[in-house]
């Protein structure tokens, strides 16, 4: 019996619990990679075309911000690495940190871990099993990706570097998850902390990649390291030392902190709450406000930071580029129209729209989480009606995205406007650009509500819908998928503001669809059994 006893049994349990979730996530990641490779292969078949495309990227801050710089853009491998390094790193990071927190803090909070750990299980077994599962998953994903890259006959060295690099960034954030899980009693808070670290890492990289004066910022970010591996462009293997060191330090910190706390407790002590409820806590809406407020605050802060960063990066686009016809043409190939700066800002606003949609789904699914936890029955055994209860949360799914988009648009407009001495001009344009995303965002919330009312077992398909729309928008449009398919995504119908004058028809149509879906969900909720 040592501190690792039982790790293997726990690992088996975790694998059993994740047997659908993890393979699905890994498969999705591999599919995105596959569409990247095949898309580039088809669109840019000669070295000259690829090099022209890559030059277009290097002069486009939106692309630099999202994906980073291209290295050896004249090769297919160089383009694939450029496109997948940052975004792929974020996806692997998210999968890994959620995985580790789910099996450590999540299990402790639910009380299930107490039963398991009362068995013949060592003190470090739980965290070790979670980290081993993260390692297995990341290596599994790397194996898929490697097989795929080799299938397209990309150089073996770069293929190994890129696939292992994505796995390595996953492991760094598994370590972040291991630390975050020790800090508070709440898995929700731990996920928030770890995801914030991931977001900050992405922003650091984005700032480093868009700024001529501070490119070293990227080196502070594990997400940036994937790009700095220079896969297919020299393969700097020594960058893996940074991944290894960061993972080891974070995992070690996780073990240290874990040994210094009691089971179920966090390093940060739990605070006592008030002995009586404030006057505001007297209605379903008051309760929804209490439950949804932390998320609204967190997303607002996130949108302010992202907006300010987007605005700050926008300044770097020079007038010289705007004057170059060939670059403009290249830019249009990337999906841009008209003015380069406006196109960049419009792209950034559409990214804010996708993020806001994620928030909308999260807020709209909160009632479902409440029901699954068994907290709704006592509530509905009072005068609170089903629709009143749903409405409280729905207010956040509908108005919450409006708030965070307004914050994001304002932050972009203020920072960009201040930098270009055109505050009065930019703020309303960018506010409009952010808010025009709302009808599409509401569709996602409405889908979640419809599922909740009509097919409560399938509510997680709300996230599935978001993933599909993101794929259609990010991959489908870049690689020229059939327009009828792209039209499935509500974001396809959102005008690119600033730059294009929005027409009301598609927006009103989206709102009407959202209203119908919501009404269907609400009527389903009135009829169905609660908690059964």
């Amino acid at each position: 019996m040592n501190s690792l006893t039982g790790t293997r049994d726990l690992l088996r349990l975790y694998v059993r619990r994740d047997r659908v979730k993890l393979p699905a996530g890994i498969l999705l990641m591999a599919l995105v990679m596959a569409s990247n490779v095949s898309g580039f292969k088809r669109l840019y078949s000669t070295a000259q075309e690829r090099a022209d495309f890559a030059r277009g990227i290097d002069s486009n801050n939106a692309q630099l911000f999202l994906y980073g710089a291209v290295h050896r853009g004249d090769t297919l491998g160089g383009l694939v690495a450029w496109r997948s390094a940052a975004i792929g790193g974020v996806v692997m990071g998210l999968i890994s940190l959620f995985l580790v927190i789910r099996h450590t803090r999540g299990e402790e909070e639910s009380g299930r871990a107490e039963l398991v750990l009362s068995g013949r299980v060592g003190q470090r077994a739980q965290l070790t099993a979670a980290l081993v599962l993260a390692l297995v998953s990341n290596l599994g994903a790397a194996a898929y990706i490697l097989a795929l890259l080799l299938f397209y006959r990309l150089p073996a060295g770069g293929s190994v570097a890129l696939s292992l690099g994505l796995a390595a960034v996953g492991m760094v954030f598994a370590g972040v998850g291991a630390v975050a899980a020790q800090l508070t009693e709440s898995a929700r808070t731990a996920r928030g902390i770890a995801a914030t670290v991931l977001g900050a890492a992405f922003l650091l990289r984005a700032l480093g990649d868009t700024s001529a004066s501070t490119p070293w910022l990227s080196w502070l970010s594990p997400v940036g390291w994937v790009e700095r591996l220079l896969a297919f462009a020299g393969d700097r293997w020594w960058v893996f030392a940074a991944f290894l060191a960061a993972t080891a330090v974070l995992a070690g910190a996780g073990y240290l902190l874990s040994a210094r706390r009691d089971f179920g407790a966090g390093i940060w002590p739990a605070r006592l709450g008030p002995a009586a409820a404030p006057p505001s806590l007297r209605s379903p809406f008051g309760l929804a406000w209490r439950l949804q407020r932390p998320a609204l605050l967190g997303w607002s802060v996130g949108f302010a930071v992202v907006g300010a960063t987007v605005g700050g990066a926008g300044k770097g686009i020079s007038a010289e580029l705007n004057g170059s016809d060939s670059l403009k043409k290249l830019f249009r190939n990337l999906g841009g129209h008209g003015d380069l700066t406006d196109a960049y800002l419009a792209t950034a606003m559409s990214i804010l729209g996708l993020l806001a949609a994620a928030y909308a789904v999260q807020a709209a699914l909160r009632p479902s989480a409440e029901e699954a936890a068994g907290r709704v029955e006592p509530l509905l055994a009072t005068q609170a009606t089903r629709l009143g209860w749903l409405g409280g949360h729905l207010a956040f799914a509908v108005l919450g995205p409006a708030v965070v988009l307004a914050v994001g648009g304002l932050a972009t407009g203020v920072v960009y406007g201040a930098a270009t001495h055109s505050l009065g001009h930019q703020v309303p344009r960018l506010l409009a650009g952010a808010l025009v995303q709302l009808p599409a965002v509401w569709i996602l919330a409405a889908i979640a509500v419809a599922l909740f009312g009509l097919a409560p077992r399938a509510v997680q398909a709300g996230w599935g819908a978001l993933v599909v729309f993101v794929l259609l928008g990010q991959i489908g449009s870049a690689f020229g998928w059939d327009q009828a398919l792209l039209d499935v995504s509500p974001f396809t119908h959102i005008p690119r503001v600033p730059g294009v004058d929005p027409s009301a028809t598609p927006l009103l149509a989206l709102v009407a669809i959202a209203v119908l879906l919501t009404a269907a969900g609400a009527s389903g909720l009135r009829r169905r059994a609660i908690g059964a």
Partner: protein, 327 residues
């Protein structure tokens, strides 16, 4: 006396599982009514139907004169519900949860609330995630008892309470009864039901198998007899059909249906009784008897059924981890 709850012929299916197969329940206004049944018998399903959280597939239910499904919100202003497995909002304190639920019911007596918090020895400042099962239960109980309502629906409300708190619970329910409130108490703790309830309903497999006052139920059932005979227990062939017959030297013990009591005593007196102890059945025995018949029926092919031997009792107990026999 008017009826607070009436249900007749309630049926409810969950896919292939029949949860309720024609359940009857009648609770008069002002009474504390015990609602008994083994795990999975359909107690919680019945209560959820009464709360309008589930819709019955068939049968009639009426609660405080209204339809539990149609008039849910209006009826809920007049009742309080305590579930058996209380989950609280992790980031709300216990005090906040008490106030919230009370305000949503439409009535909360702050003085009564503070008094109950003290009696139940609850720290209302702790966050929901920090409470143990028993303390979560106390939060729900305080909130329910501090609300000014006519009807309390309590679904195994004391399953996590210690004996001290159990006795506080019993005295609070007795107070509620004295104030004229109606209580439906689903419970596994038979001593609690025996102490508090005037009438009980016993259900099994989604059907009502017994309902009435405790006295009535006792009359319907058996008396336990232990007799010490003068000399070895001789010819017991004169005994009517009895249950759990045990002979140990000159001591004989059995349970006999009250209808056969006279005949059994006659047989014993012929064998010359030195001492005799007779005991009316406890609720536990009434309850177990229904279980035993259940087990006997299930095991009919195996041991010939009628449940005359102890193996049937053991068999039944093994289905019930919270058997009163272990208590």
């Amino acid at each position: 006396m008017t009826s607070a709850i009436t249900a007749s012929g309630l049926t409810k299916r969950f896919g292939p599982t029949v949860a309720l197969g024609g359940l009857d329940l009648s609770v008069s206004t002002g009474e504390v009514h015990g609602f008994l049944g083994p795990n999975g018998a359909g107690k919680s399903t019945t209560i959820r139907i009464l709360l309008g959280l589930l819709r019955a597939d068939g049968g009639e239910a009426s609660l405080l004169g209204g339809d539990p499904w149609q008039d849910a919100a209006a009826l809920h202003a007049r009742l309080a519900y305590v579930p058996g497995d209380v989950t609280l909002w992790p980031n709300l304190s216990g005090g906040e949860a008490i106030d919230l639920l009370g305000r949503l019911r439409g009535s909360l007596d702050p003085k009564r609330r503070d008094e109950l918090i003290e009696r139940f020895e609850l720290d209302p400042r702790k966050k929901g995630r920090a409470y143990s099962k028993g303390n979560r239960q106390k939060v729900a109980l305080v909130s329910a008892f501090a609300s000014d309502v006519e009807l309390l629906l309590l679904d195994e409300p004391t399953s996590g309470l210690d004996p001290l708190m159990e006795s506080v619970f019993q005295s609070v329910v007795a107070e509620e009864r004295d104030r004229g409130r109606t209580v439906l108490l689903s419970s596994h703790i038979l001593a609690e039901v025996e102490a508090l309830c005037h009438r009980v309903t016993i259900i099994r497999d989604g059907r009502t198998v017994e309902t009435g006052t405790l006295d009535e139920l006792r009359h319907l059932t058996r008396t336990s007899i232990t007799a010490e005979l003068d000399g070895a227990a001789g010819d017991l062939r004169g005994l009517p059909p009895v249950h759990d017959l045990k002979v140990d030297g000159d001591t004989v013990s059995f349970a006999v249906d009250n209808a056969d009591l006279n005949e059994a005593l006659a047989c014993l007196t012929q064998l010359r009784v030195r001492s005799l102890v007779s005991r009316p059945p406890t609720l536990e025995e009434i309850f177990l008897r229904h279980y035993r018949e259940d087990a006997g029926r299930e095991g009919a092919g195996r041991d010939g059924g009628a449940g005359l031997d102890d193996s049937a009792v053991r068999n039944e107990n093994s289905h019930r981890p919270d058997s009163p026999a272990i208590r």
